[in-house]
Symmetry: C2
Subunit: 451 residues, 2 copies
Amino acid sequence: MKKVFLNDSEIPTRWYNVLADLPSPMSPPLHPATGQPVGPDDLAPVFPMNLIEQEVSTERWIDIPEAVLDKYLLWRPSPLCRAENFEKLLDAPVKIFYKNEGVSPPGSHKPNTAVAQAYYNKAFGVKRLSTETGAGQWGSALSMACQMFGLECRVFMVKVSYQQKPFRGLMMAVWGANCIPSPSDQTHAGRKILSEHPDSPGSLGIAISEAIEDAVGDPDARYSLGSVLNHVLLHQTVIGLEAQKQLKKVGIYPDVVIGCAGGGSNFGGLCLPFVRDKINGKEISVVAAEPTSCPTMTKGPYAYDFGDTAQTTPLLAMYTLGHDFVPAPIHAGGLRYHGMAPIISHLVKEQIVEPRAYDQIQTFEAGINWARSEGFIPAPETNHAIAAVVDEAQRAREEGKEKVILFNWSGHGVVDLAAYDAYLSGKLIKYEMPEEDITRALKAIEGLPKP
Amino acid sequence: MKKVFLNDSEIPTRWYNVLADLPSPMSPPLHPATGQPVGPDDLAPVFPMNLIEQEVSTERWIDIPEAVLDKYLLWRPSPLCRAENFEKLLDAPVKIFYKNEGVSPPGSHKPNTAVAQAYYNKAFGVKRLSTETGAGQWGSALSMACQMFGLECRVFMVKVSYQQKPFRGLMMAVWGANCIPSPSDQTHAGRKILSEHPDSPGSLGIAISEAIEDAVGDPDARYSLGSVLNHVLLHQTVIGLEAQKQLKKVGIYPDVVIGCAGGGSNFGGLCLPFVRDKINGKEISVVAAEPTSCPTMTKGPYAYDFGDTAQTTPLLAMYTLGHDFVPAPIHAGGLRYHGMAPIISHLVKEQIVEPRAYDQIQTFEAGINWARSEGFIPAPETNHAIAAVVDEAQRAREEGKEKVILFNWSGHGVVDLAAYDAYLSGKLIKYEMPEEDITRALKAIEGLPKP
């Protein structure tokens, strides 16, 4: 058995909401001015009300709308594959299964929530979505989704990525979106930066500020976020729910479930349905892999912090390296975020999820070995999950214990080959976050409420 | 129904050899010096004997070796999908099905034969394969296959493509191959060109000459070709055989089968099993889509001609624009070949296959509409097949006749986005081959034997 497919009729028809099963309540998002929990009305200029309701829902199961399922079926259910060649290479007593989310049109898990968000915005009467993107995975996914539901789409892309990764911008153009290098002259925030630093390479923080300003200033527009928030992780649970059905078909249950985590959405998408099993008594390890250069969960404090550099978002209770953190320029743009989804942060704090950090050299080594044995070239983000699989296999070998590992192959690296080139030509260096950065992080959250 | 999957156990275990069913015999390849049919010994320095035997076999079914099936299963059976959104857009009485060959690691149908060729060479004791590549689809597929079977791989890539499409060369490096811009200083042929034209951008003809010279000069090496030859088309029939199983599952048989054709391998791979049905009496149209700028089958004579510019190959009986033909620089590198597979040429001559030519503007328009409705971005080559689907839908609308169309979605265009950019920014122009080129083509084959 190398692959388990599900037929169209077997696709999950409901998302799973872990909020219904948490052993302890989460700390709510706070309004930075009042220190009080934010209400739906605070968020109404930013998100449509149907998504705000989903953000705070504690219903265990939420129906996936027919129109969203219809788009999912263009590429979902994604295959569950067994990595027999990689197993042979590792020579450890492990069986390795992975969900191949690289089969979607933009090549990652991102459209699972992009399609849902485009649908809900359209249903609410929104005409245009605005968002930011770093490496471009999210921006391209939302471009496709907006095209499919007849929404305009504007993507503020970090300028240095826009220049270094022209293919992502071109992909957005093919799907009819308007991709703007950020900082831009389209917003007050962008113009301010440009007047002070005309050559600014941009940052995710600046791009978020531009996208929010652009959306909030137009009653027909809303803002869209590709990770971190509860409703985003909710939409991604289709991955884990499919995996559970597929594993059941072959009578297997995993000992370890692994995902890489930047904002937490692909990780949550695969793992949350298994977290439910763990809460209900199953013995299972749930491992989140992050970069040593941006070690949010392994080094950061659990605290209230802003989601963006410009301090425009509500305060979120999460592991954070401080909203002013500037991560090292590693080649996994999707993992360079100072915070972590509040749901995932809560599960780490409750010791239900175990975080581990891997260095980029180690991750590319794992990714090259993967590509040379299993064929598919993984995204640099995904290489972190593969490094954790290698680590887990090593532990199984040492313990002499047989293990079934399941991980999320969150996307392909076909548009990220320059990063592989850097690795193969010995240009990558090992990044560890300096210890003094913890002092800076603590300073950044000083004076903010505590969870 | 949007997709039909086959389980691992349902993958075809034999390739289909159309030579067993042809209504009239094919004209054999000739030795250019003697004008006599080439024998196995003539080809022995170039190909391993097990592939030479396959090239001339007339057995109807040839078993797929276990080790090849094992690699196929990394991504095969590929999904058969129904393009309901594209159907809606066309608003014609058609049902459109497509085989998604873009799901393979290099993103096209090419590994179907690359894996088989690497296996047979390895089994024969070969240690290294040498090949040429234009746009890079073939070179990257063979790189992956060689890595999987422990063979060294050297790819001579047309220099201008090497420079314009760095991602393809990087992909080959990830899979451990040595990609060399051609003309190079590694061969006599390359050095000769460089001494006369130091700035030569290269051509497929030069790259073929380099690859053959490189292989023939080393007893441990052989040459590998990604299209045109009988054994290459044989390996690709796994596509059509899967499609037949999948269509049977949903109780459907197509009225029209379509593929784009450059050398003929993806076209043959899907269509040959249906050609068998047609020979046995089924009413079905089989349409080969080629570019108006390289109209081999629609404008060229059926004649004996060389497979390469440097006149090093045997003479093949085929439709040809002359071995000295330099096609216009359209953005579908895989379709810029002066000849056509002898099998496909024979079927066109026998009026079993109907060729049609489409302009690149028309093909990109079709491709953009596809990406915006079905999500997946097609390769520029694949866009020719989609243009033929649009054409066929238009005919069905005019005739008021319901039709089931099946076509080969031969690969994704994620590494070809610069071509889409050129289209979207209005930089593409319409290319028709000038009529006087037919005179030149006839001159190129003057004096050669006639089939």
